[in-house]
Amino acid sequence: DAGITQSPRHKVTETGTPVTLRCHQTENHRYMYWYRQDPGHGLRLIHYSYGVKDTDKGEVSDGYSVSRSKTEDFLLTLESATSSQTSVYFCAINSDREGDTQYFGPGTRLTVL
């Protein structure tokens, strides 16, 4: 258990509405990540953060933004949700002590109607 929680765990929303997912960690890890998981694609990186207010894009960043105002919290925002963003979203942290090993939160299932 790497002390990672995600909220909400499930969310149903409508197309065009803004959505924010929260990832919270308790162990002061520098690196945090957001992935999405879709059938046939495994997990794909959306955005990542390497410190407070330091973020960068991943493989599938279009339509998403992130913020990190505190070490422990990493927020993922869908400014205007679309049905193609229906997915399971995972947050992860990078454990520098274990050679770049990543540990994952429990996931958030998001459905956009």
Binding site: Y31, G42, Y48, F90, N94, Y103
Partner: protein, 116 residues
């Protein structure tokens, strides 16, 4: 660009027997790490085993072991004495060791069924 390929969408094994899941990857780098993650129906991503590319010795964690063939860019997972609780989707993943970004690249996954 680095890629990870799992060519077996589904596998099955009899309880107490051994099964091997395949993974190949493509990279031009010499410094990297490889992982196997397990995702049971609960959806939680659980680290199973980790291998550093610079180590020739294959990693082992209890009933789980890997066959790491660096020249062939192959990284298979062997599960011995399979148990019903091993039923899950398994993902192979790669991360470069030469970057601070720590971006994991995943394969498409293999669903393992364990038959009683």
């Amino acid at each position: 660009a680095q890629t990870v390929t799992q060519s077996q969408p589904e596998m099955s094994v009899q309880e107490a027997e051994t099964v091997t899941l395949s993974c190949t990857y493509d990279t031009s780098e010499s410094d990297y790490y490889l992982f196997w993650y397990k995702q049971p129906p609960s959806r939680q991503m659980i680290l199973v085993i980790r291998q550093e590319a610079y180590k020739q010795q294959n990693a082992t964690e209890n009933r789980f072991s890997v066959n790491f063939q660096k020249a062939a860019k192959s990284f298979s997972l062997k599960i011995s004495d399979s148990q019903l609780g091993d039923a899950a989707m398994y993902f192979c993943a790669y991360i470069t060791g030469s970057s601070n970004t720590g971006k994991l690249i995943f394969g498409q996954g293999t669903t393992l069924q364990v038959k009683p």
